[in-house]
């Protein structure tokens, strides 16, 4: 099967994006824990990787102008195919190959009706909750360092 030919229906696009983003944001421990609770481990044939490479991270001149190359980041990616033929992809910053391989399997499982709920409840929802909690905590810690200016009352008039 030509991996590049695989297309995604529009309706699933937002869901697939969210799934890929949350898997990228998950830790290996979170992904392993979900994998361990999976009753029947699917057979997954490696199609590509896991392999580590680089992504050139781009910025924009002045913040919003033309793109420029800021520097590279390590990225690890994997593609797997389930016995059913469903292909899963994963890619995340860092060099963790186990995380990429298991994430690709979860990406494939998410696409199958029968296992989507499992992926949602075992991995995506907990990761989403953790990320939101971390973000909220950081925002509150930063907010506590906000300067509240006040004007001293002047002596004359």
């Amino acid at each position: 099967m030509d991996v590049a030919q695989q297309t995604v229906p529009d309706t699933d696009l937002a869901g697939r994006r969210r799934c890929a983003g949350l898997l990228a944001g998950a830790t290996l421990n979170e992904i392993r824990a979900a994998w361990d609770t999976l009753a029947e481990k699917p057979e997954a044939r490696p199609v590509r990787g896991p392999e580590t490479g680089l992504v050139m991270v781009r910025g924009r001149i002045g913040g919003g102008g033309s793109p420029f190359n800021l520097g590279e980041a390590t990225v690890t990616r994997a593609t797997v195919a389930l016995a059913s033929g469903t292909v899963g992809h994963a890619q995340a910053l860092g060099t963790d190959k186990d995380k990429a391989r298991l994430s690709a399997i979860f990406d494939a499982l998410w696409q199958e009706e029968a296992s989507r709920d499992f992926v949602e409840t075992a991995i995506l929802a907990p990761v989403e909750t953790r990320l939101a909690a971390e973000e909220a905590q950081k925002a509150e810690e930063t907010a506590a360092t906000r300067v509240d200016f006040f004007t001293m009352v002047r002596g004359d008039d």
Binding site: Q6, G25, T142
Partner: protein
């Protein structure tokens, strides 16, 4: 002429063994872990990532450990590692307006949307050594306060409403961003390539150049419009999927320098801008970068080029500390044959001068 000389293998092996020993240090002390370096020496790790031009906290921490804390050596290690990896592609350009801000200050507006957020800063500390850090005393949890919903607006957007500030920099249409890791440097270069070079440039070198502009060598009247530090999403288009997905988040520091400009034959009086963007938390580097970026725009803005910081070829050719250390440090490698040749030449010159002098004296004697 090169002459093959053998020898030194045993000395080199033993030197590296000794290096490993000194790196480990006193065995009665626990060994420092990669996680400890990444967590507790995080700003050293950030500097290594920025100047190696490779974002990976664990590998940068490993490099810091391996180099015994010699950060330029660590940068060199990470740069070398980078060359072993294939490139998968380029990210979607970062959206720094959408950053999860951890610090944001402006020197140009007191009350601005989002406010002045000091974050984890060294500013306002008294720079007194803290004896409590001699031991491992418990550290308080950070204070918390409800976060506002208000967007943390860019300062450049606030000024843009009045039309008194130039826009974000745009390259000519269809000009793809240059990449100095793929093409040799050529001067003059466009601003995108300069920013790439400055983003990986040596912090000390850029700091000194930025400082030189403040002291009058290419003065450019800067104000910090804004410095912001925080995490941004890195997204990449995945051809197999046909859309962009998030790869995770990285921390960056951005500086928008706003420079008063009295106008020239090429541009009216307005505020011009210098831009700095750096991997990790490093506002000294981001600020220096934006000062130097602005200085290097002298020609574009029709200013006289009078100072080192405005000289593109000088600045960009000498900003890379891996190149610089390679060339400076190679001087200590064997130059035995070169030196023998020089020695022979100096001896000959000396002998020639003495012979000439003796000849003159003999002539004088004969004349007398």
């Amino acid at each position: 002429m090169y002459v093959a000389v053998k020898g030194g293998e045993a000395a080199i092996t033993n030197a590296h063994r000794l290096l490993a020993d000194r790196r480990r240090g006193d065995r009665s002390l626990p060994s420092v872990t990669i996680d400890q370096i990444a967590e507790q020496l995080g700003l050293a790790v950030d500097r290594v990532m920025a100047e190696a031009s490779l974002y990976d906290r664990s590998l940068a921490a490993l490099a810091v450990r391996q180099s015994r804390g010699d950060l330029i050596e660590a940068i060199f290690l990470l740069r070398a590692y980078r060359t072993t990896l294939p490139r998968f592609g380029s990210s979607v350009p970062l959206d720094t307006a959408d950053m999860q801000v951890e610090r944001r200050v402006s020197a140009t507006y007191k009350d601005l949307p989002g406010g002045q957020l000091l974050g984890p800063t060294f500013d306002y500390t008294h720079r007194l050594l803290d004896p409590s850090l001699l031991s491992d005393e418990a550290v308080e949890e950070p204070a918390r306060r409800e976060a506002g919903e208000e967007a943390i607006m860019r300062v450049s957007d606030i000024l843009a409403h009045e039309g008194l500030i130039e826009a974000d920099g745009d390259l000519p249409q269809d000009q793809p961003a240059g990449d100095l890791t793929r093409e040799p440097l050529e001067f003059p270069m466009s601003r995108d390539l300069r920013l790439q070079a400055l983003a990986r440039g040596d912090e000390g070198f850029l700091l000194a150049l930025g400082y030189s502009t403040q002291r009058g060598y290419g003065r450019n009247h800067p104000f910090v419009g804004e410095v912001r530090i925080g995490e941004v999403e890195v997204e990449m288009d995945i051809p197999e999927l046909g859309f962009a997905v998030s790869l995770g988040r990285i921390r960056v520091t951005e500086c928008q320098m706003v420079n008063q400009f009295k106008g020239s034959s090429k541009a009216p009086p307005q505020f011009t801008r210098g831009y700095g963007l750096v991997f990790g938390q490093n506002e000294r580097k981001a600020m220096s970068m934006s000062l130097v970026d602005r200085a290097l725009r002298a020609e574009e803005l029709g200013e006289d080029i009078t100072a080192p910081a405005q000289d593109e070829e000088f600045v960009i050719s000498h900003s890379d500390n891996v190149q610089a250390t390679g060339f400076v440090e190679h001087l200590k490698l064997p130059h035995y044959v070169d030196f023998q040749a020089e020695l022979a030449m100096v001896r000959k010159m000396r002998a020639d001068i003495e012979a000439a002098r003796n000849g003159e004296n003999e002539m004088k004697d004969a004349a007398e």
